[in-house]
C-alpha cells in the first residue's frame, strides 16, 4: 500500500509536469493553427487572383496577336492571288490558304466569299463549299471575338472556342473575306496552365472541354467569361496545405519535445522527492516488522531531510526502548523460571531434608527403628531425587531447543502415523478426526515433541480418565492441529500465561510443556493457541503455515 502511495505520488508529480507542459501547447497550437490557416487562405486567394490576371493578360495578348496576324495575312500576296482567283470565278484549291498560314501563329485561316461560303481553308479544307456556322458570324473590322469553330482530327470533328477576326482582302474589292485566329485548344490551355501554375478549364455548351494543370486539395477558382465559353482558373491548396502541415508539424514536434523534456524533468524531480519518502516508508515497514536497527539513508534536503533524521532518531529510540523492554521481559521470564525452578527444586528438597534429619536423629539417638526408618525413607528420597532429575532435564530441554529443520510433510498423515505410535494412558480414550491432506514444512522431531507434550498435558488434566480428541483441518493459509480433552479446562485468567515457562494449573508439573510447545510453534512460523473446548475441556490449537500443494512432494 505504501509503495502504491509512493507510485501515486510520483505519477501525480509526472502528470502535473505533463499538464504544465501541455497547457501552453493547448493554448498556442489552436491559435497558431488558426492564424496560419487565415494567412494561407489569403495567400491562396491572392494566387487565384494572380492566375486570373495572368489569364486575362494572355487573352489580351492573344487578341492583339490575332488582330495583327490576320491583318498581315489579308495583305499577303498569296492571299490576294487566291482572292483574285476566286473573284475571277475559278475555285481555288481547298487548302490554298495553307501557304499563307505557314509560319504564322494562326490555327484558323479561312477565305470566304461575300455570301459567307468557305472557299479555301488552311486548317479545315473539308469545309470548303459550306457556310461555317461560327466563322460566318464574325464581322469584318471588329476586334477579335470568341466563336465556336470546328476542329477536325482523325477522331472526329469537335467544336472549340477560337479567338478570330475577319478582314476584307482589299485586292478582291470585298468579294473575299479572310477570317483567321487561334483555337483555344488543349495546347493553349496547357500553355496557360503552365503560365499561371493553375488548373485551367475551358468549356461551354456544345464545346469540347479542355483542361490542363492540376489543383490538388481545396481549390479556389476564378472564372473569366468569354462569350460562348467560360475559362476557369483554379489554384489548389496542396502546396499551401503542405506548408501549413509542415509548420504545424514543427509546432507539434516542438511541443512534443517540450512535453518529453518536462516529463523527464518531472520524473527526475519526482524521483528526488519520492525516493526519500519511499525509503522512509520502507524503513517504517522494517521497523514495524521488528528490524529496529533499520536506518534510512540521510538523502534529500529540507523538510524531507528533517523527516528522515527524525525517523532515524525515533527508530534509534525505539530500539533502545525495545531492547530495554526485552531485557526486562527476559529478566521477568528468568525470574519466573528461577521461581519455578526454585519451587520445583524446593518441593523435593523439603521431604529429603526432613527424611535425612529424621534418619540423622534416629542414628544419633541410636534409635532401634533406624533401619526401619531408613528402609522406609530411602525409596521416598530416591523418588524425590528422580523428580529433581526430571525437573532439571525438562529445563535443560527447554533451554537447549535447537533451530527447527523444516521439511515438507502432510500434517494429517504425519499426525495419524504419530498417534499410532503414541497410544494413550489407560482410562483415556484417544479419538482421531483426520482432515484433508495438509502440506506444511515442519521439523518432524520437534513436531513429535509438541504432540507428545499436548497429549501429556491432556492426559494429566484428566487423572480420572476421559477422552482426548485429535483433529486436523486447514483454512486459507494455515494448517491446524487441535488437541481437545474432556478435563476441567484452563481458567480464563490463566490462559494468557499458561504458555509462559513455569506456569502450570496442575498440582504437579514443571510448567514447561506448553511453553516448549509454544516455542516449537514459533520456530515453525506458527502459533499455539489456548482455548476452551465446547464441552468445557482444554483445547490447544497449533497453527502453522501451509505450503502450496503443487510441486511439494508430501510424506507423512
Amino acid at each position: 500500500m505504501a509503495a502504491t502511495r509512493g507510485m501515486r505520488l510520483r505519477t501525480l508529480l509526472l502528470l502535473a509536469f505533463a499538464l504544465l507542459a501541455l497547457l501552453p501547447l493547448a493554448v498556442t497550437v489552436p491559435l497558431a493553427s488558426r492564424r496560419i490557416e487565415e494567412t494561407f487562405a489569403r495567400e491562396l486567394a491572392a494566387r487565384a487572383d494572380a492566375a486570373a490576371t495572368l489569364g486575362s493578360t494572355e487573352l489580351d495578348r492573344l487578341r492583339a496577336e490575332v488582330e495583327q496576324s490576320v491583318s498581315a495575312c489579308a495583305a499577303d500576296p498569296l492571299t490576294e492571288a487566291v482572292a483574285l482567283q476566286l473573284e475571277s470565278g475559278l475555285p481555288p484549291a481547298a487548302d490554298a490558304m495553307r501557304g499563307v498560314a505557314e509560319g504564322r501563329p494562326l490555327t484558323v485561316l479561312t477565305l470566304r466569299d461575300a455570301s459567307g461560303v468557305t472557299r479555301s481553308s488552311a486548317f479545315l479544307p473539308a469545309r470548303v463549299g459550306d457556310v461555317e456556322p461560327g466563322l460566318s458570324t464574325v464581322r469584318t473590322g471588329e476586334a477579335p471575338v470568341l466563336v465556336p469553330v470546328e476542329v477536325q482530327n482523325a477522331e472526329g470533328v469537335q467544336l472549340r472556342p477560337a479567338l478570330v477576326a475577319a478582314r476584307p482582302v482589299e485586292a478582291a474589292r470585298g468579294t473575299a473575306i479572310l477570317v483567321g485566329g487561334q483555337v483555344l485548344d488543349e495546347a493553349w490551355v496547357s500553355r496557360l496552365a503552365r503560365l499561371t501554375a493553375a488548373r485551367v478549364e475551358l468549356q461551354g455548351p456544345g464545346l469540347a472541354p479542355a483542361a490542363a494543370g492540376t489543383a490538388e486539395g481545396r481549390t479556389v477558382r476564378r472564372a473569366l467569361p468569354l462569350g460562348p465559353a467560360e475559362l476557369t482558373l483554379g489554384v489548389g491548396s496542396a502546396a499551401v496545405d503542405e506548408t501549413r502541415a509542415t509548420l504545424l508539424k514543427a509546432l507539434v514536434t516542438a511541443g512534443a519535445l517540450g512535453l518529453g523534456l518536462a516529463l523527464i524533468a518531472g520524473f527526475l524531480f519526482a524521483r528526488g522527492i519520492t525516493r526519500p519518502v519511499e525509503a522512509l516508508t520502507e524503513g517504517v515497514r522494517s521497523v514495524a516488522g521488528g528490524a529496529l536497527d533499520t536506518r534510512v539513508p540521510a538523502t534529500g534536503s529540507g523538510e524531507v531531510r528533517v523527516l528522515v533524521d527524525a525517523f532515524n532518531r525515533m527508530a534509534e529510540d525505539l530500539g533502545h526502548a525495545t531492547r530495554a523492554l526485552r531485557a526486562a521481559e527476559q529478566a521477568a521470564a528468568w525470574e519466573g523460571v528461577a521461581r519455578s525452578l526454585a519451587h520445583e527444586l524446593r518441593n523435593p528438597l523439603t521431604p529429603l531434608q526432613m527424611s535425612l534429619e529424621t534418619l540423622l536423629a534416629a542414628r544419633k539417638a541410636r534409635d532401634g527403628r533406624f533401619e526401619a526408618l531408613f528402609v522406609e525413607s530411602a525409596p521416598a528420597m530416591l523418588e524425590e531425587v528422580e523428580r529433581l532429575r526430571r525437573t532439571i532435564d525438562a529445563f535443560a530441554r527447554f533451554a537447549r531447543l535447537p533451530a527447527a529443520q523444516l521439511e515438507p510433510l502432510d500434517l494429517t498423515a504425519w499426525t495419524e502415523q504419530a498417534l499410532g505410535l503414541a497410544g494413550a494412558r489407560p482410562g483415556v480414550a484417544l479419538r482421531w478426526e483426520p482432515g484433508p491432506p495438509l502440506a506444511v514444512r515442519a521439523d518432524r522431531d520437534q513436531l513429535a515433541q509438541l504432540l507428545h507434550n499436548l497429549l501429556r498435558n491432556a492426559e494429566e488434566a484428566m487423572p480420572s480418565g476421559g477422552q482426548v480428541t485429535v483433529r486436523t483441518r486447514g483454512d486459507a493459509d494455515r494448517a491446524v492441529l487441535e488437541v481437545e480433552d474432556t478435563g476441567p479446562g484452563i481458567p480464563a485468567d490463566a490462559r494468557a500465561r499458561v504458555l509462559e515457562p513455569g506456569v502450570t494449573t496442575k498440582a504437579s508439573g514443571t510448567g514447561l510443556g506448553l511453553a516448549l510447545g509454544a516455542r516449537i510453534a514459533q520456530g515453525h512460523g506458527g502459533t499455539l493457541e489456548v482455548d476452551t473446548a465446547p464441552g468445557g475441556g482444554a483445547l490447544l490449537r497449533l497453527r502453522i503455515p501451509r505450503e502450496a500443494a503443487a510441486g511439494v512432494r508430501l510424506t507423512p
Binding site: P91, A93, A94, D95, L124, G129, Q152, G156, V157
Partner: protein, 449 residues
C-alpha cells in the same frame, strides 16, 4: 525499245533531210521529278506510281489505245480450257534471275494477296491459289491458267501493272527496261526483250510540288509525275466508298449530301471527274448522277473510315466525308493506313467504311470485275462475270456490262465517287512518249534530240 521499228517508222514518216536530225540517239539520262506521294506508291497502284514503276517492272503486256494487246514480257495463248502464259526468252529480273513460269506464278501469288485488281484480273481462273501454288514449283514452258468460265477479256486484264512480275516483297526486283541502281537511279538493261531504252539511265528526284514544277520549267527535269495532266486522257483510277452492311444507313446519309462534282473540284483536282456510276465515263459509265431526291436526313452513331494515308486526295475526301457525316449527326473516325495495310485490314473486317482507289482495266467487263471484287462477294461476282464472259462479241459484252453496272449500282456496297487520270507533265522536247489504254505513259521509248 523496239528501236528498229521506231526507226523504220521515223524513216517512213519524216523527210529524208530530217531523218538524221530526228534519229533517236542512245545515251543521256532521263530525269524525272516526282512528288512525295508518287514516291510512296511502292507497288505502282496509282497511275503516276505505275508509270514510274514500269521503268523497272514492266507489265506482262501493253494494251494500246485501240485495244490491241502487245506482249512485252510474255505472250498469252488460248488453250482448250483456259490460257497459257509463256514468258519471253531473255526476260530477266534486275537481280539476274530469269523470268520463268514458276517466278511468274510466285509473283502473282503475292500480287493477289495485296491487290484487289490482281484478284479481279485472275478471278476467272479456276482454283487460283492451288493452281499458282502448283505451278510455282514447276518448270513448264507456259503458266497454265484454267478458267472457271469464259472470259474473253483476260488478256487485257493480265496487262494490268498490278500483275507486273516482281520477285520478293521489296517491289523493285522486276523485269524492266531499266534496272534499279540505288534508290533514285536506274540503268538501261540491254537484254530487255523489247530492246534497250535509248537513255543510258534515269534519275528520280523527289520534290515538293512547287519545286517539281520549277524543275520542269527550267528543264532540269523532263518528266513530272504527280502534277498536271490532260483532261481528255483516259481516266481509269477510280475511287469508291465501300461499306459494311452495318454502315449502309450512313452511306445513305452520305449519298443525299454528296456533291461529286464539288468533291472533285475542291478536294481531288484535275485530271479527275465525278463518277456517279460503277464504271467511269471513259468506259461508258454515266457522267451525271440521278438526283438523290429528298432533303438530307440525319442519323446518329459512330463509324470508322479507313483510307490510304499516302494519297492526299483520299485524305482530303475522307475529311470531307467526315464533315458531311458530322452535319448528318454521325461521328466518323478516320483510320489512316498504308495501301497494303488498308487492303489487308479491310479484308480482315476492320472499319465500317473504306475509300478504295483502283486503276481499272480499260475494258468495261474487266473493270466491273474489279468493282465486284471490291464489293467483297466472290460468289455473286463470279456468277455475274460468267454471264458477261459468255458474250463473245466485244461490243455486246461491253454494252451488257454497262447495263449491269447501272443495275448493280444501288445493290452493291460500293459507292462510286470519282475517277482520276494520270497526273504528269512532260518536257515538250521529249519524243516517243506514248499513252496506253490504261492512260499511262510509256517512258521506256522516250528520247530527246
Amino acid at each position: 525499245m523496239r528501236r528498229g521499228a521506231i526507226l523504220v517508222l521515223l524513216a517512213a514518216a519524216a523527210p529524208l533531210e530530217a531523218r538524221a536530225a530526228a534519229r533517236a540517239r542512245d545515251g543521256g539520262t532521263l530525269r524525272l521529278a516526282v512528288l512525295p506521294e508518287v514516291r510512296a506508291d511502292r507497288w505502282g497502284e496509282t497511275p503516276e506510281g505505275a508509270a514510274l514503276r514500269e521503268l523497272v517492272a514492266a507489265p506482262l503486256c501493253r494494251v494500246e489505245g485501240g485495244g490491241r494487246v502487245q506482249p512485252v514480257l510474255a505472250s498469252v495463248q488460248r488453250t482448250a480450257d483456259g490460257v497459257s502464259v509463256v514468258p519471253r526468252p531473255g526476260a530477266r529480273f534486275s537481280s539476274g534471275a530469269p523470268l520463268g513460269t514458276a517466278e511468274l506464278a510466285q509473283a502473282w501469288a503475292r500480287a493477289v494477296e495485296r491487290s484487289p485488281v490482281a484478284r479481279a484480273a485472275l478471278g476467272p481462273v479456276r482454283e487460283l491459289a492451288p493452281t499458282l501454288e502448283q505451278q510455282s514449283r514447276g518448270k513448264a514452258a507456259g503458266l497454265l491458267l484454267p478458267l472457271a468460265h469464259p472470259w474473253p477479256d483476260l488478256e487485257v486484264s493480265l496487262c494490268h501493272p498490278a500483275l507486273a512480275p516482281v520477285l520478293g516483297d521489296g517491289g523493285s526486283d522486276g523485269v524492266g527496261p531499266y534496272a534499279p541502281d540505288g534508290a533514285e537511279r536506274g540503268r538501261a538493261v540491254p537484254a530487255f526483250p523489247e530492246g534497250r531504252p535509248h537513255p543510258d539511265g534515269f534519275l528520280v528526284s523527289t520534290l515538293a510540288r512547287r519545286a517539281a514544277q520549277r524543275a520542269l520549267e527550267t528543264r532540269s527535269a523532263q518528266v513530272l509525275l504527280g502534277d498536271g495532266g490532260e483532261a481528255a486522257a483516259p481516266a481509269l483510277f477510280a475511287t469508291y466508298l465501300v461499306s459494311r452492311p452495318q454502315a449502309r444507313p450512313m452511306v445513305s446519309l452520305l449519298e443525299t449530301r454528296l456533291d461529286r462534282p464539288a468533291l472533285v473540284r475542291s478536294f481531288v483536282g484535275s485530271p479527275a471527274a465525278a463518277m456517279p456510276g460503277l464504271l467511269p465515263p471513259s468506259l461508258g459509265g454515266p457522267e451525271r448522277s440521278a438526283s438523290a431526291g429528298g432533303s438530307p436526313g440525319r442519323g446518329s452513331g459512330t463509324a470508322l473510315l479507313l483510307y490510304a494515308a499516302d494519297r492526299p486526295g483520299q485524305r482530303a475526301v475522307a475529311q470531307r466525308l467526315q464533315i458531311l457525316l458530322r452535319d448528318a449527326g454521325v461521328s466518323l473516325r478516320l483510320g489512316a493506313r498504308t495501301p497494303e495495310a488498308l487492303d489487308r485490314d479491310w479484308r480482315a473486317g476492320q472499319g465500317d467504311l473504306a475509300l478504295r482507289s483502283v486503276l481499272l482495266p480499260p475494258v468495261p467487263a474487266a473493270a466491273l470485275a474489279v468493282v465486284l471484287e471490291l464489293a467483297g462477294d466472290p460468289g455473286a461476282g463470279r456468277r455475274e462475270l460468267a454471264g458477261l464472259g459468255a458474250l463473245a462479241d466485244e461490243r455486246e459484252r461491253a454494252a451488257r456490262t454497262r447495263e449491269r453496272a447501272l443495275q448493280l449500282a444501288g445493290a452493291l456496297p460500293v459507292v462510286p465517287l470519282y475517277v482520276e487520270g494520270l497526273r504528269a507533265r512532260l518536257d515538250p522536247a521529249l519524243v516517243d512518249v506514248r499513252r496506253d489504254a490504261f492512260g499511262l505513259w510509256t517512258l521506256d521509248d522516250a528520247w530527246w534530240p
